[in-house]
């Protein structure tokens, strides 16, 4: 999460370039602006979810479970799909279970495993949150025309595909 409310001014960028010759001022400025925008958008999502008593971590767990036909998944599977360790999943599940949104069920075919299933309360939480999420996301994304949106996503995709350049 970017920690700079104040984007660099032309003056501070000049100073930067003076100390570090060869700086591509435009690249730096654009990069920071991009991060700033991303952080603002993510924060707006946080606020939306907070209205429904959720946080991004819990929210994405619920979304992953909802994607499953039987509303059920395993910690290992969730870890893979979320890109975090299984130990981290344990924590998320603990929180969601405490709130009654999911339950741990023993896997009948393998006693090492658990099945994490969305409860009725969990589904209700989604039913309460998702219409709001849908309409707000729609409203936001509609502030861009279709061609601009496509172009933006294509550009972001290009950047992501070139992230090895940051290595």
């Amino acid at each position: 999460m970017l920690l700079l409310k104040e984007l660099p001014t032309a003056k501070s960028l000049e100073k930067f370039a003076a100390r570090y010759p060869g700086t591509n001022v435009r690249a730096i400025s654009d990069f920071v602006s991009m991060l700033r925008a991303c952080a603002d958008i993510s924060q707006a999502l946080d606020r939306l979810l907070a209205k429904h008593g959720l946080l991004q971590g819990r929210w994405w767990m619920l979304v992953l479970l909802m994607r499953q036909d039987d509303l059920t998944s395993s910690p290992t599977d969730l870890a893979a799909k979320a890109g975090v360790t299984k130990a981290s999943i344990t924590g998320f599940i603990d929180g969601l279970e405490r709130e009654g949104l999911v339950i741990r069920l023993p896997d009948p075919t393998d006693r090492r495993k658990y099945l994490i299933r969305l409860t009725a309360a969990g589904l209700q939480k989604l039913d309460e949150t998702i219409p709001d999420y849908n309409s707000k996301v729609d409203a936001l994304m509609s502030s861009l025309g279709e061609p601009e949106r496509d172009e933006m996503l294509r550009s972001l995709k290009t950047l992501v595909e070139n992230l090895e350049l940051m290595r």
Copy 2:
């Protein structure tokens, strides 16, 4: 930070739309793709900074200090510029001071205040990190042509200006 390595499939979006009629599938899909890209880019920055023993929090603090003519700022000022509380700044300063990258100096004009100043070691840390940061950010951003970059930033700016639609 987005927790979905796996973006929604066409099938899961269909299912979503079936349960929540009126869903703008494109809006949701685009929104999640955008967050995914943002998270990936931010993570790439984390990795770059980690090579130099830094993390985003500490890094942006150092950058804010470097912007000042005398390499000096106050906790209140840093808090405002970073968009976090003063209590949070105390923690960042503690860490940076422990590593010798900044020092707390009493403000001669107001005994409630401290001046946070970048030390020689702090400046050296920046001198070691920034050339790498510059070249990597330049390389990444150069994967987009200038018009695409401008368009992308304009689109992101439009979204940020319309974030009140998420309220």
